[in-house]
Symmetry: C3
Subunit: 314 residues, 3 copies
């Protein structure tokens, strides 16, 4: 994807982490870190986007991600327009492109776009006018770059800035996960020591996604000695599609509990993009326990999104 860079190679949109330089990625993380530090954990309002209008343009509902972006934009002083494209004229047959161009014509400069398809967000970015910036808030199975960034920010807080010796395990429905794809891109860019991927055979993705990863189906085995785990949400559709036999069966094979967690390195960090299915991907004691970084991921998400919006729009 090249639509995200301008002719000088600067970041113009954030569509994917793939192809980002290590330097660009660290700059975004650095800015996010400053934003959080500046207020010792609490993020203060900044006026950097005063007079700028930002639209959350969601072609697929996601109250939580939208809220995170909305709070990020508000704290930068931006005006927010929440445009729910699943209940709008889209349904009257208007194309996604016409919808974006219209809102753009209304003077909106930043778009936070979620779409169920893999390629629409990039096409929107290609068609965007000068001065307009897009942030991909999740498109199909393709990418969810701000989630990838916030996961990296959280890993750095948990394990330090040197990733070269780290072993990180991604567990679950990797096949359908844009989070996993963005995490894999970021982990490779940051030169993580070892990436392991684990899940049922029919939920593992094509080989090119797994390049350079250790892949396995036995969770207990893959857990041995890892420094961090990224659990993926199990979508209930997978059961209806017959890809997962039952939630109980999934939990027995891939659910993280305290016993299993002891196989990982001491003080291994547990991450999950949320919302968590308690008793499916994770037990209560682990989700709410001292090794869980799940709520810190959420907090970091706002800082990361502030950093991205500020970078693209100022």
């Amino acid at each position: 994807m090249t639509a995200q860079f301008d002719s000088k190679g600067n970041l113009r949109h954030l569509l994917t982490l793939e192809g980002l330089s290590r330097e660009a990625l660290l700059q975004l993380l650095g800015r996010a870190g400053q934003i959080r530090d500046a207020a010792m954990g609490r993020v203060k309002r900044r006026g950097t986007l005063a007079r700028v209008a930002v639209c959350t343009l969601f072609f697929e509902p996601s109250t939580r991600t939208r809220s995170s972006f909305q709070l990020a934009a508000q704290r930068l002083g931006a005006d927010i327009l929440n445009f729910d494209a699943s209940t709008s004229s889209i349904r009257k047959g208007e194309t996604a492109l016409d919808t974006m161009r219209n809102i753009e014509a209304m003077g909106v400069r930043g778009f936070v776009v979620r779409h169920p398809d893999d390629q629409i967000v990039e096409r929107l970015a290609e068609a965007a006018g000068e001065g307009t910036a897009l942030v991909n808030a999740g498109d199909g199975r393709n990418a969810h770059p701000t989630q990838g960034l916030l996961d990296m920010m959280t890993l750095r807080q948990a394990k330090g800035a040197d990733f070269s010796q780290l072993k990180v395990l991604i567990v679950g429905d990797v096949k359908h996960s844009r989070v996993a794809r963005s995490d894999l891109h970021a982990l490779r860019i940051l030169g993580v020591g070892q990436i392991r991927v684990c899940g049922p055979a029919n939920l593992l993705p094509e080989d090119d996604v797994l390049q350079g990863c250790q892949v396995g189906q036995d969770f207990d085995e893959m857990l041995e000695g890892v420094d961090a785990l990224i659990l993926l949400r199990l979508q209930r559709e997978r059961m209806e599609e017959g890809l997962v036999r039952s939630l109980d069966d999934y939990h027995a094979r891939y659910g993280l509990n305290a016993d299993r967690l002891r196989r990982a390195a001491p003080n291994a960090a547990v991450l999950h993009p949320g919302p968590i299915n308690r008793g499916v991907e994770i037990t209560d004691d682990v989700a709410d326990g001292p090794q869980s970084w799940i709520l810190r991921q959420v907090a970091n998400g706002v800082a990361v999104r502030m950093a991205v919006l500020e970078t693209l729009l100022t």
Copy 2:
């Protein structure tokens, strides 16, 4: 409920009016009065909640109550996040507690929560982090404390600050009404002279709710000489449940019209939490007549909610 006080006995959340001291209740009313007076009826914007994010977290839809809180928070300068929990990841199986904790992790400090169940809001308050404040915007049949406060504010405007000689009648579906419960708490705390409760037998609540009240089923009789009436909204579900024969029948027995109103004391005040069912609980001439305080209740609602948010969050 003790979750609403901190270790020093200060109000930390507003979950119910039950157990509030007379002094605490009068302080909230006093602040609300100042807010309205300050602008001679019109409430001006204040900056007291600038940089504070407030979330309306509604697990049950209520555009009107949400709007009142939103306008209150806006006028204090807060950033608002409207989180409709009936269309969000809640439906994907996330618990109310996880939803609140997530939004809290995003940096939101104030939560205005509505929930169809009786006990969830208190549990959320118990689980809330330090510095987070909850306002109960109605939970099940349990409580709707800001409605209770705005009713008291309105009664004071109508009848003066000395409640000791007042006779107040609450009419309708008291059994299912959180408004009635909060009003009853407030009227007792303020030492109102006489509380009467009136409604069909199967819409009257348990005895402990009615402690110290004069209770009857004959509206005309109960009306004699009262200084104020609080009519309750008749939910249409009551008919489907067979608790009310028909709207016409209800109106014949418990509908307030100009004739009936003459049985009350001269210039008796008529209150209703809204939205009103015209021709059911009340006739047009009374709803729109000189003894109706219904729209002033709405106006007072914004001032009361500003006072509550400011008290809890500054």
Copy 3:
């Protein structure tokens, strides 16, 4: 409609363009032009409505029009309340009037109202309290005055301020179109040289709407030498109602393509209120071509709405 003027003849609400003086209409256009010029195309934030609360009260969904008004109000510094009256207590049986009065009692001063019926918005305006202003954002088939204004603003940009020599053609479902009615009012007030109206016989309106217009069913014929075309959106309901045989048939007879456009005057301006049905009212090459003013209409819409809100509320 007289509800829109106060006793001194000043504009108090904007309900329709009918009956507006040429001077009043030009003043609104002038202010909108200043707002756009002030920022050389980009509209800057102004503080003229700081501390004023504006409510978009939509009894019929329209994300796009609501968004345009919301951005306009935000850029004037107003507080916005989006009240979706199709999912609120309206459904519990409350009247539109009670809904408006309630929000008014909450301190909202400006209402942007859309309603599926022809007469409700005017009735709401008649009932509004002193200091409250309404803008009609489209009511039934009756009027959509800000669309009329933005169309005039666009025509002036395209064709200059002297309308006396202009030939303007309105094409499509004029019968059901509030846009057409408001455009016709405005074109007459501005003294346009010639108004032509074209569409299938069963989609042409009553005679009084067409007063002074040249009317025909043959699109090619009516196109000859026009300086500007206003295409109307074809609602898909018209097919279900049997008023249009098929989209293909409609396109063959009334769809604008590059060939047809050559019949018009050189550089004729093409307008459409959106959202466009590509391949029905218009082909891609015309919609996205150099004679299309469609996106500039959208941009002008925000400026016009800012001008209207500022005029009514300051």
